[in-house]
């Protein structure tokens, strides 16, 4: 069952969680609904920040920082760059047929209901969450795991980036004709 946090007796953490969750969801919606792509981008940045807040709440500081660097710092800049490059603004907003919106709303509701229903249906987690007390998410631990156990995927991710790099070059490189 959903535990609707009892706001009257809510702990600080719970209040923060609710607040962050609200911001996350609201800005996510705003991202989608705002007409100006630049506004969307800004809302999305806020959304990412709130997610970073969640990370912090979960005590994953390193991840939160990386998250902000990668998403807000890199990806969103890329987005904004592109938007600027294409000089997009409201006039590029094309007419959306009603059927499309209806379809989107229907599928949104449907998938939301289905997924939530499944999770509600599932056996609730009984008992408390154990805490080993060990440090499991400091930079040190993460670094060890990443470069020992996850060394191969780590290297492999470089291939992924290499492919993306080659790909982007390939897609934008003008051909020199003979």
């Amino acid at each position: 069952m959903i535990h609707i946090p009892d706001l009257a007796h809510a702990t600080t953490v719970q209040v923060i969680f609710c607040f962050l969750a609200f911001i996350t969801i609201a800005t996510a919606f705003m991202t989608i609904f705002s007409r100006n792509p630049i506004h969307s981008a800004i809302y999305l940045v806020i959304c990412f920040f709130s997610i970073a807040g969640h990370y912090l709440l979960l005590n994953a500081q390193f991840l939160a920082i990386v998250h902000i660097i990668v998403y807000s710092g890199a990806i969103m800049i890329l987005f904004l760059f592109t938007i600027m490059l294409m000089n997009l603004n409201e006039r590029h907003q094309v007419h959306r047929p009603r059927i499309t919106r209806l379809g989107a709303i229907v599928s949104f509701c449907l998938i939301l209901i289905v997924l939530i229903a499944i999770f509600i249906n599932s056996k609730p987690i009984v008992g408390g969450y154990d805490s080993t007390g060990e440090d499991f998410q400091s930079i040190k631990v993460l670094g060890k795991i990443l470069l020992n156990e996850y060394m191969v995927p780590f290297e492999f991710a470089s291939i992924l980036l290499l492919v993306a790099m080659i790909g982007t070059v390939l897609l934008s490189k003008k051909e020199k004709l003979k």
Partner: protein, 629 residues
Amino acid sequence: MEMDTNLALLLVLTPFLGFLINVFFGKSLGKTVSGTIGTLAVAISFIVTLLLFNQITTTGKAIEVTLFDWIQISNLKINLGFLLDQLSVLWLLFVTGIGSLIHLYSISYMHDDENLHKFFSYLNLFVFFMITLVIGSNLLVLFIGWEGVGLCSYLLIGFWHKNQDYNDAAKKAFIMNRIGDLGLLIGMFIIGSMFSTLDYATLKTAIAGASNLNLPLLSLAALCLFIGACGKSAQIPLYTWLPDAMAGPTPVSALIHAATMVTAGIFMVTRLNFVFDLAPDVQTVIAVIGAITSLVAATIGLVQNDIKKVLAYSTVSQLGLMFLALGFGAYEVAVFHVITHAFFKACLFLGSGSVIHGLHGEQDMRKMGGLRKAMPITFWTMLISSLAISGVPFFSGFFSKDEILLTAFHHSIPLYVVGSVASIMTAFYMFRLMFLTFFKEFRGTEEQKHHLHESGALITFPLMILAILATFGGLISLPGNSWLNEYLAPLFTKVAGEEQHLGTTEYTLMGVAVLGGLLGILIAYIKYFKQNNVPESDENITGLTKVLYNKYYVDEIYDAIFVRSVNGLSVFFRDYIETGLSTLVFGLGKITDELAFQGKKIQTGSIGLYLFVFVLGLCAIVSYIFLAQ
């Protein structure tokens, strides 16, 4: 034994050899040589037959020859073998004898035809098959001959193949025969499954020794066999092919459609007398059908104007009489009539051929007349034969026909009356033919008249021989002292009929018959000699005559009922059922094709739609697996 085999093979294979020679070399040999070879081939067979006849009469034992296994069926094994007994040798005698004469006749008659070698090859082939039919030791070998003679009949009727009407006639003959053949086959199947043999000799002993015979089944077999006989011997309802078969050259009509092939049905029934004896119901059917056929054919014969058509209907009528006799179990009587009929009818046909030959192909009696002087030999021989067929005393036909009527009288008065009426009519139309053809003035064109002449010796010689036979043929079975009955006695299980004592009744009946015959002749005389009537031209024929002239419209009825319906069905099947089935199969393809066409519309190219379906699919799967319970 070796000797017998060789003789039998010689008997069968000489005509076949003649056929081969004529087929392959006939054209280069020239007409006379070709004809001579054909004639000789049959003549040799005739000589062999005489030898065999001699052997049979002296020893009294049948000769059996087995060549090799032919068809193997689980419970019956069919040999290719020959049985030369009294019946088959008797049949062979007139088949090969008359055959030789007609071959001889044909040399002259067909001399102007460019395909003479073919004609002789077909005739030889016919004789070959006829011999096979007669001497086969089992029903299946008989069937080879049976179908073979049908084939030759087909070939010879359609000999002048440029005329599609003749071809139609040939085809009709073949197909009607085939209807009968199916009956024969079915009969064979039944007999085969009942007795596990088709061999005459074995069959006879099997039937004799059998207890608990399934008589209804056997009767069915007999009936089927009789249908076969109907087809071949032109009985109702399968008789209509025979008059049409007159499209063939006249010697063919004489040989095949009068003397030999059409008697095959009688031969078969006689051969299987032990079967038919056990099926009295079928015998009754045979008798009734025979009587009706003889009457119907005779009535039609009354008004025909084509000289060969008259003879054809007469043949049908006479065959009917023979079946009448068979129906009463008087096999030897029927055989007797077969023989005499072969003589006089062959003679009549050949005579009419001589007339037609003289008139360069004219067959309509209305355009003849007065030929007596120009063609005396033809006239006299035909007159003798006409007298014979009319039952005028002391000619051969008198004895044989009288015996049939006598037998009929003893068994069934109504049938006797029918037979007698048919006989009277026979006398009438035969003499109608004689008067119209040979007396009074010639009614043809001047040019024909100019060329009128008696035919050559090759034509008249066979006529004379046959006329002699037609006169004296009756001697082989004189009432009360029948050589024939004695000769055939070993064949029949029953004592041949009730030995007929010649009593008052018999003499009275004889007198009645003779009077009847004379009456017929008299009417013809009055009508066509005294009153000098000439039959009306076709369009003026009215009333009953028209019905008769058009053969009771039987052809038209058959055409409407069978031919048209089959053809109509064929067109219907071709145009509707076939197309329908085809559309059905194509329809499956069309449906999928249409689905594909509609399906293409779903693939709109819109990413939104694609993702929408994606999400729907996801929801459906997830909810089906996790929420369905």
